[in-house]
């Protein structure tokens, strides 16, 4: 599955990358994040676009699996 790696990117890059994906692609994708702030921002964007996602978490990072 296509993966968007936002680790280490500062605001607003994670949101911009996801927005880019939403506008230009159609399929499912995963977003890889390593900060709570990124998660909250990306979550807000996905929720606003009525998209559902599942969360996988480990000590290093968090992944949102976005369904479309």
């Amino acid at each position: 599955m296509k993966q968007i790696d936002t680790r280490g990117l500062s605001c607003p890059q994670p949101v911009v990358l996801v927005l880019n994906e939403l506008r230009n692609e159609k399929g499912e994708f995963e977003v890889l994040m390593d900060s709570e702030a990124s998660c909250e921002n990306v979550k807000r964007l996905l929720t606003k676009n009525n998209l559902k996602f599942e969360t996988t978490e480990n000590s290093e990072h968090i992944i949102y699996h976005v369904k479309r």
Partner: protein
């Protein structure tokens, strides 16, 4: 809810609290319409350390210490403290440097721009328009793929503790009135709320801002890029609560002329904040947010903060800072050079990716 402060009600609550506390700090002795100002207060610290010798603006502001340490303590508690860095350090330093030059031409960071407005200083409207324009230019670069690159978790965890330790050192120098420190005897630098109250307010705001990601630049950027009004609702709450408290305390006085620690040269109020807004947008956060991130162990944000400190020193040493009499002799040059610098950085850091 996992983190109340990241919700809409949460950010509004945080904004309102910061506005109320800022008005109270002014009531308790901080300079007029300057209950809180990250740029001015960092400038005062630069002066206290003798990095510039403008005698009226030298004081170790406990609010700055509190903000950073509050963020440090809270992020540590919630396991969000992560030493990290390595993303375009010298560029971030320079952006901080010029952001400060612009802020001192206008006379305030975005926090103070809203506080000035809340106190009736209508020049702030011009400044805020400049800020929006600067951020807008920044978003154009961001949409075209502007990016400062990734930070990486630092192997040497110690890196993340350097800023908190510096803050503790500053606090000790303040408490014990360390001899080499300069303290203003008159002017804005001599006006301050009691040390302990300033420190506690700083700690509270630092903690709240860390949990909520409060950011004035981000509030405008998010509207432009994603039409997201989340952060903006916090900033509005901030301005309104400060306005209401100013009415209560009799600190409101509407007009353009004769406003405290301000000038009414519209062009330079606009361009000064354009420069700052652009630099903040390119660096990813307003000065307040950069302090909060520094407390979380983000050494890239720390480099930006140090850049601001350096910018403050040069701003006064090179007569670029404004005063109530108007802009400094070389303020216009500093502003124009800063804007050109930011544009060059904006263009040169675009990677091939469009949005």
């Amino acid at each position: 809810m996992k983190n109340f402060f990241s919700t809409k009600s949460g950010i509004i609550f945080v904004g309102a609290v910061i506005g109320i506390l800022a008005a109270i700090l002014q009531k308790l002795g901080n300079p007029p319409n300057m209950g809180l100002c990250i740029a001015c207060f960092e400038r005062d610290i630069a002066g206290a350390l003798g990095l510039h010798r403008a005698g009226v603006v030298q004081y170790i502001r406990p609010e700055i210490i509190g903000l950073l340490l509050g963020s440090f303590l809270i992020s540590f508690t919630f396991k969000e403290f992560k030493p990290r860095g390595g993303s375009s350090s010298i560029i971030r330093f320079s952006l901080g440097f010029f952001a400060m030059i612009g802020a001192l031409v206008f006379l305030g960071c975005p926090w103070r721009a809203f506080l000035r407005l809340a106190g009736g200083d209508l020049n702030a409207i011009i400044g805020i328009l400049g800020l929006i324009f600067g951020i807008f230019i920044g978003t154009v670069f961001i949409r075209k793929g502007y990016n400062l690159g990734r930070s990486t978790p630092t192997v040497q965890k110690a890196a993340g503790y350097i800023m908190p330790v510096i803050m503790v050192a500053l606090l000790l120098m303040l408490v014990f009135q360390f001899k080499p420190i300069f303290f203003s005897e008159k002017g804005p630098g001599a006006m301050h709320a009691p040390l302990i109250i300033s420190l506690i307010v700083g700690l509270i705001i630092g903690g709240l801002a860390q949990r909520s990601r409060f950011c004035t630049m981000g509030s405008i950027r998010d509207i432009i890029i994603v039409k997201d009004f989340h952060l903006f609702s916090g900033v509005v709450a901030f301005a309104i609560s400060a306005f209401v408290m100013n009415l209560v305390f009799g600190q409101f006085n509407a007009g353009f002329a004769g406003q405290p620690v301000a000038h009414d040269l519209h062009l330079w109020n606009f361009l000064g904040m354009t420069l700052s807004g652009l630099a903040f947008a390119l660096a990813g956060g307003c000065p307040g947010r950069q302090l909060i991130l520094s407390g979380e162990g983000d050494t890239d944000a720390s480099v930006f903060v140090l850049g601001m400190l350096g910018g403050a020193a040069f701003s006064h040493n090179f007569s670029m800072a404004s005063s109530p009499k108007g802009i400094g002799t070389f303020g216009a040059y500093g502003t124009i050079i800063g804007i050109i610098f930011c544009l060059i950085i904006g263009f040169s850091m675009i990677q091939k990716r469009k949005i």
